[in-house]
């Protein structure tokens, strides 16, 4: 840092550091220039959480004497996906780019294999779940490293008081802080009854039916808990099956208890629904609760994050991992690998989790009982069950287990929510299924 010349970017960075409110300006650190590394990270939603990444990268850069620059890229309006698309098109860009769930598979050909990073990490931190493998691995090749920041489980975040009052369910008793859940009765049927009771009470569940991730993820988990797949693992279209029909019937009933404008909801709508005190339950990572803590503390005190209800085919929770990928056209791949190893050390992971207030979720089996989750509050222990510490759920992503390139389109075109919505709005079951079949045929395009 001593003999730097003040470039424009550095100037921006220096001023950025002085104003605590600003997190997203590019940060450049110059050491003795043993190579350069440019990084594109996801711009974190939890205020202040980018700082953990910046600090960890700088720590590493100082040790390795690498000059680094970080861009924080927002995922709003699919900006991070657009960045990845632009860089893949132009064959140039960041050395390391953080990508949402589906994109390592989409750019499999242009990503550097990272087996030499992943294999030691798994040995050290414990096994990763099936969804991480499904999304991050292709033909035995690790396409990307699961990133702690941004990865999330979108389980229910419930209003303790409203749920008790209208549905007669004590979520704290069902999911007690610090001990295994007693949730055998927490099934799709119970969930539906609770949704009805709360809707009658004037506090409907806030589950979106739009085209953004929150809506799609919830639909994905519900479909999977009925064993419903639009396209199976082999790539065959399996829309017209009883499992799908069953899931649709269920969704139709559920939709009648949801707010009337749920079809237009985006990822922020359910948060607003909870914070404004209008709803008894939403499906979201703890960011809604974190914001409520700041703006509507009386709501936050009544929030409890817990597990998903179980269906006939098991208990599935929507899981949305982020990845760090290294472009094969990148200039400094060795440094990139070394940094990714550093960011995946237990001490780094602990830091990510702490700074994000428990939002970030490591992919590794040994890392689900960190003290942040046990201690965050009020109410104390509200996040204990967020990372699924007792492994009672299958963490999965909507549209899996279809081949990733097809599943990705089912996911991004929100075929599941659209299908459910069509049926719920009066379209005949078979017509709606025929529509979905047509969509899936379209997704086979190469």
């Amino acid at each position: 840092m001593s003999r730097k010349t003040l470039t424009r970017r550095q100037f921006v960075a220096t001023t950025a550091m002085s104003s605590a409110a600003l997190i997203t300006a590019p940060y450049v650190r110059r050491a003795y220039a043993a190579g350069k590394l440019s990084i594109g990270f996801w711009d974190h939603w939890v205020p202040g959480a980018n700082k953990a990444s910046t600090d960890l990268v700088n720590e590493w850069a100082a040790k390795e004497k690498v000059e680094v620059s970080i861009d924080y890229i927002t995922s709003n309006n699919k900006k991070i996906e657009l960045t990845a698309a632009a860089e893949a098109q132009a064959n140039s860009g960041h050395d390391i780019l953080q990508m949402p769930s589906w994109w390592p598979q989409a750019y499999a050909d242009q990503l550097e294999p990272l087996n030499d990073v992943m294999e030691p990490l798994i040995k050290q931190n414990g096994e990763v779940n099936g969804t991480v493998k499904y999304l991050g691995q292709s033909g035995g090749k690790w396409l990307a490293v699961p990133a702690t920041p941004g990865s999330q489980i979108k389980g229910p975040c419930t209003r303790i008081d409203l749920m008790k009052k209208y549905a007669n369910i004590d979520v704290q008793e069902m999911y007690p802080a610090g001990s295994p859940p007693k949730a055998d009765n927490w099934t799709m049927e119970t969930f539906l009854k609770a949704a009805e009771a709360c809707q009658k009470g004037g506090f409907p569940f806030g589950i979106g039916l739009g085209e953004t991730t929150d809506s799609v993820d919830t639909a994905g988990a519900i479909f999977q808990s009925f064993g419903a797949e639009l396209v199976n693992a082999k790539g065959d279209i399996t829309v017209k099956t009883d499992a799908v029909r069953q899931a649709l019937e269920y969704y139709k009933k559920l939709i009648s208890f949801l707010p009337p404008d749920a079809p237009s909801w985006d990822d922020a709508s359910n948060n607003k629904w909870l914070i404004s005190g209008k709803g008894a339950l939403i499906m979201n990572p703890p960011s809604a609760w974190a914001v409520a803590k700041r703006d509507a503390p009386q709501v936050a005190e009544q929030c409890w994050t817990h597990g998903f209800p179980s269906g006939p085919k098991g208990r599935f929770a929507p899981y949305l991992p982020y990845f760090w990928g290294v472009w094969s056209f990148g200039k400094n791949k060795e440094a990139a690998k070394s940094l990714l190893t550093h960011l995946s050390q237990p001490s780094s992971i602990e830091k990510f989790v702490a700074v994000s207030g428990g939002y970030d979720l490591p992919a590794y089996a040994n890392m689900t009982k960190l003290k942040t989750w046990a201690e965050e509050g009020p109410p104390k222990g509200t996040l204990y069950h967020y990372p699924d510490p007792h492994k009672q759920q299958t963490l999965s992503i909507a549209a899996s287990p279809a081949p990733p390139k097809i599943a990705q389109q089912i996911y991004f075109q929100a075929t599941l929510t659209k299908l459910a919505l069509r049926h719920a709005q009066g379209e005949k079951m078979e017509t709606a299924l025929a529509w979905a079949e047509g969509e899936c045929e379209g997704f086979m395009r190469s």
Partner: protein
């Protein structure tokens, strides 16, 4: 100047037709009634922006009367105006718009001059063609342009995607055709004798343009400048497609993508950002309304 024309149709004539005056009063009352209605319709969104921008997040999330501010605060303004990120958007927008205005003028004034005054082979076709290119919308061009830029970048190694300066290249396609069109109209209305006399006196074409055309057509020039500025300031699709990093954003994209954080609740700031983003065109408009309107109606009044 346009005011003069408008004043002509003023109330003086009504005096003459006394028998109509009762009708007239009623017509006036109805006119005012509906104008108030329409003005309210026009002004609700900007006023609502202002109201929301003065509220704290806590007040907004409490869902009290949305049309009233109980605890006005300037904290949203303070936070945005001290955030380097927001200032960066503003700066990018300002630079892009100003440079684009200059480029537009440098291209369209000489071209309009040539098309209005120097009949040459193909000049009539070109003049019509210029206007027709305006009919090819940005929403048709953004995909091929995106791919073009990617190909050029891959080929030459010059970074074009995700750089704000690429907008300097692209925006003129939106401003130049219309500005050239306006300027052709204004230049054509200048009497030929003025420039012929200048040329006889030994002035070059360039001198004629600088000394005669530009000063005489100044109102049209101002209208075209305002037009070019507002179009560049408001453009949304191209920067949305071509820029992806936060430090490359211009205001409209910056506000819609970074202030609307998926999970974070900050509508006070979003409305503040939108209001601040709308401010430059609004200020220009407040001071130069007549030119603005002259620019808008340029093609129409002569047709």
């Amino acid at each position: 100047m346009s005011m003069l024309a408008i004043d002509k149709g003023g109330p003086s004539r009504k005096v003459k037709y006394g028998s109509m005056s009762r009708d007239r009063t009623w017509a006036l009352r109805w006119s005012y009634f509906f104008l108030v209605l329409f003005a309210a319709f026009s002004l609700i969104p900007p006023i609502y922006m202002l109201i929301t921008s003065l509220k704290s997040s806590a007040e907004i999330s409490a869902a009290t009367n949305p049309w009233w501010v109980f605890h006005p605060t300037l904290s949203n303004y303070f936070e945005l105006l001290t955030s380097n990120q927001f200032l960066r958007f503003f700066w990018n927008s300002a630079i892009v718009s100003i440079v684009v205005v200059i480029v537009t003028m440098l291209i369209s004034i000489p071209a309009a001059f040539a098309l209005a005054r120097m009949k040459f082979w193909g000049s009539a076709t070109l003049a019509t063609g210029v206007f027709l290119t305006y009919l090819i919308p940005d929403s048709l061009l953004f995909i091929p342009l995106f791919k073009m830029l990617a190909v050029i970048q891959d080929f030459t190694g010059i970074a074009l995607l995700n750089r704000w300066y690429v907008l300097l290249l692209i925006y003129p396609t939106l401003t130049v055709p219309f500005c050239t069109w306006i300027m052709i109209g204004y230049f054509a209305s200048i009497p030929k004798e003025l420039d012929e006399a200048a040329i006889i006196d030994g002035a070059s074409w360039l001198q004629t343009l600088m000394r005669i055309f530009i000063p005489v057509a100044l109102p049209g020039l101002i209208a075209a400048t305002i037009f070019a500025f507002t179009v560049s300031w408001a453009q949304f699709l191209y920067p949305l497609v071509f820029t992806t990093s936060v430090d490359q954003f211009v205001l409209p994209v910056g506000i819609t993508t970074t202030l609307i954080k998926g999970d974070v609740f900050n509508w006070g700031q979003i409305m503040t950002g939108a209001l601040l983003g709308a401010a430059p065109p609004l200020i220009i408009y407040a001071f130069l309304m007549d030119y603005y309107i002259a620019g808008l109606t340029a093609g129409a009044t002569k047709g």
